[in-house]
Amino acid sequence: MFDSISDRFGGIFTKLRSKGRLSEDDVDSVLREVRLALLEADVNVAVAKTFLARVKARALGAEVTKSLTPGQQVIKIVHEELVTTLGAAAVPLNRAVAPPQIILITGLQGSGKTTSAAKLAALLKKQQKRPLLVAADLQRPAAIDQLETLGRQIGVPVYSDRKAKPTRLVKAAIKQARTDSHNVVIIDTAGRLQIDKELMDELAAVRKVADPDETLLVVDAMTGQEAVNVAQGFLERTDLTGIVLTKLDGDARGGAAISAREVTGRPIKFVGTGEKISDLEVFHPERMASRILGMGDVLTLIEKAEEAYDQEQAEKTMQKLRDASFTLDDFLDQFQQLRKMGPLNQLISMLPGAGAALGDVQVDEKDLGRVEAIIRSMTPSERTDPKTISGSRKRRIATGSGTRPQDVNKVLKQFSETQKMMRSLSEGKSPIPGLSIPGMRATKPKKKKKR
């Protein structure tokens, strides 16, 4: 339901590019689309308004009229303003005035506090710190067990006391940390609504006792318009110092990031990007800006692709392409990599140019399974040299894969045509307009960069 955004931007920006000068109407027409994109990304209505006013002021200023390509200038301004709003550079954790450094983790229920606390502990441990986790969530059943389990996994001790009140528990934990010479204390608190007076009072009290160097608000990237109220509520009672944005491994556009950032003025310090303990990263404003504007698909795709293929595999495949020695086995390899990355239709929709090249295809996942079954029912030698597959072998393969011989025929025929296509590719003729395969004409065997 979001795929139209990139298209919509594409259309508008082309229109602007063709013009020499921008009128106020032009700027307004772009900003209307930007506004929709922001709202669909869950940026708060009021925040979007202020943001657009800023962009408009800049776009109508001298900057644009002096520029040679006004359209591009507007795009740049929107993106720049987004990046500036999100925080231009990564902000490190506040240092402790005197050790231990104390980090208080707060947020709504289910935003990912406990997981983030453990991830942060693991990250700091990797940086040679000695963290202590404190289980101060005494509300949710088994929250302490969850943190203890995670603590065991990452080899970080967890301080808990199922009977004490949070304030006393935190006081005792910090004392313990000093005794055991921990230089970081990470306090996981119970999830609470910002309007729950009793629990917010408790949190304020905990904060007073802990006197943290860093008070982080954990915000779910999927949060809607409510993000401003949550952020403001926690800011008022706990004097936040930073934000952690979680569940960015999903496909939420994450407009909550802008809302929370704009309301609190506090930097987004980390983002949670997966379920593994190591999935906590420093915040990248540019990536977030692209994502919110709906231009992040390519980035996501790159991340997915990088998970599935490593550099070496990519090189190997490129080599096979160059000398046109792609066999059914190689095909099967590729096939499995792709399936790991998600539904094929989704991948196609994310690939710029692929939709056009393939003519709006819809792939039935069941058919994918059939193709795989057919190839798997071939012997290794048949896969290397499909020409040896005779009529009786086809029948055997069809029986083995639960398909019909004519299906096997189709697969074989298409494979041989695909091989032909790749041969022409390796001769430098790209089937996809605008896309050429580098190194194909064997002119530049230049070493590619390493990641």
């Binding site: 339901m1 669909e40 869950d42 708060n44 209505v45 009021a46 550079a89 990564a90 902000v91 490190p92 289910g110 940086q127 949710r140 929250a143 067990d145 203890e148 910002q194 779910d220 999927m222 809607g224 318009q225 409510e226 403001q232 569940k247 999903g250 496909d251 939420a252 556009r253 407009g255 309301v263 003025g265 930097p267 379920e275 420093v282 795709l301 790159i302 692709a305 293929y309 990519a314 490129m318 392409l321 095909f331 590729q334 990599q337 998600g342 991948l347 690939l351 692929a354 295809v361 792939v363 039935d364 193709v371 057919i374 398909t403 697969v411 298409q414 695909t418 296509m421 590619k448 990641r451």
Partner: protein, 339 residues
């Protein structure tokens, strides 16, 4: 079926991906944790923002009251109405449709428009089955959703509710992924007083669900409620695991009586994608909308019902066992519009 075309498609896609990996330079890390970077001093909001926010915090109710107190219609009124709906997470598309329908109804006064909005929203929720349909014996309820929406808590509340109606319930702790998820459900099971089947951490969730179903059959229990691990709808392998759980249960039970999707009431437009993906994977029959005890309006329910035709069956309004109630469209719309 067109098996042949799959080969070139897969090859082209694979090629493009390999190219992407091969060519793209990822932006270098913008800074390290302890690295020396210059933090940008946040310029906290211009004067206008605070006021605007407090306006948005006043809630839809007051905004609408102010809106409809005007004495004439103009584009600004319609825009403001749409903004008010968007501010409740109704979403751009659904709010456009509502506003358009209200315009079509040609109310004579702005006050009349308010009634038209109400009618429009109520019409949207009308005529859907919102009761649980538990026909089989034992009945099975599969509970699914992304991480942190409140599945486990909702299950406990649901179990309490069903038990209050005289049904015997067994819970299946099929979230074998999240640390201590089974402990959490166990604690709830004790509080509510229902049976529970757990597996070891990392055990096959489908087998836990299966065991619970078997237990219900032998002990003659009425309802099996299966708790599953939270999963983002974009994770293909985890969604595959979920369809396996559903498949195993369907094989044993014939059909699942209910597949409930738990949506967080504070979630924005992503909830639509969630509803869509979970419906594709396991056939969602109803929605549980949680965390409505805050200031979140849960307007996303409008979009979900409007675009996907899945009924909201329950809402979660607090942390207590009794804080799960049946969804009443009229009350929900009243709360959304503030009355």
């Amino acid at each position: 079926m067109n098996l042949g075309t799959i080969i070139p498609i897969v090859v082209v896609v694979a090629l493009l991906l390999v190219l992407v990996v091969w060519l793209v330079r990822r932006p270098s890390d913008a800074g390290t944790l302890d690295g020396v970077v210059t933090p940008r001093q946040p310029e906290v909001s211009e004067a206008g923002l605070r006021e605007r926010l407090s306006k948005s915090r006043r809630g839809l109710a007051e905004r609408l009251t102010g809106l409809f107190a005007r004495d004439h219609f103009d584009q600004e009124l319609w825009d403001d109405l749409q903004d008010a709906l968007i501010a409740a997470d109704v979403g751009v598309r659904a709010s456009e449709q509502v506003v358009e329908a209200v315009r079509q109804a040609r109310p004579e006064t702005p006050q009349g428009a308010r009634g038209a909005v109400q009618d429009q929203l109520e019409a949207l929720f009308a005529g859907k089955e919102r009761e649980l349909t538990l026909r089989r014996s034992p009945s099975t309820i599969l509970v699914v959703g992304v991480n942190g929406t409140g599945k486990t808590t909702s299950i406990a509340k649901l179990a309490g509710m069903l038990q209050g109606e005289g049904k015997s319930v067994v819970l299946a702790a099929a979230d074998t992924f999240r640390a201590a998820a089974d402990e959490q459900l166990k604690t709830w099971a004790q509080r509510v007083g229902v049976k529970i089947v757990t597996g070891r951490s990392g055990a096959d969730p489908a087998s836990v669900a299966f065991e619970a179903y078997e237990l219900a059959k032998t002990d003659g229990l009425d309802v099996v409620i299966v708790d599953t691990a939270g999963r983002l709808q974009t994770k293909a392998n985890l969604m595959e695991e979920l369809t396996k759980i559903a498949r195993v249960l369907r094989r044993e039970a014939g059909e699942l009586d209910e597949v409930l999707l738990v949506l967080d009431g504070t979630t924005g437009q992503n909830a639509l994608g969630q509803a869509k993906a979970f419906t594709d994977a396991v056939g969602v029959t109803g929605v549980v909308l949680t965390k409505l005890d805050g200031t979140a309006k849960g307007g996303i329910a409008v979009a979900v019902e409007n675009e996907l035709d899945i009924p909201v069956k329950f809402i979660g309004i607090g942390e207590g066992v009794n804080d799960l109630i049946r969804f009443e469209p009229k009350e929900f719309v009243d709360a959304l519009l503030g009355e």
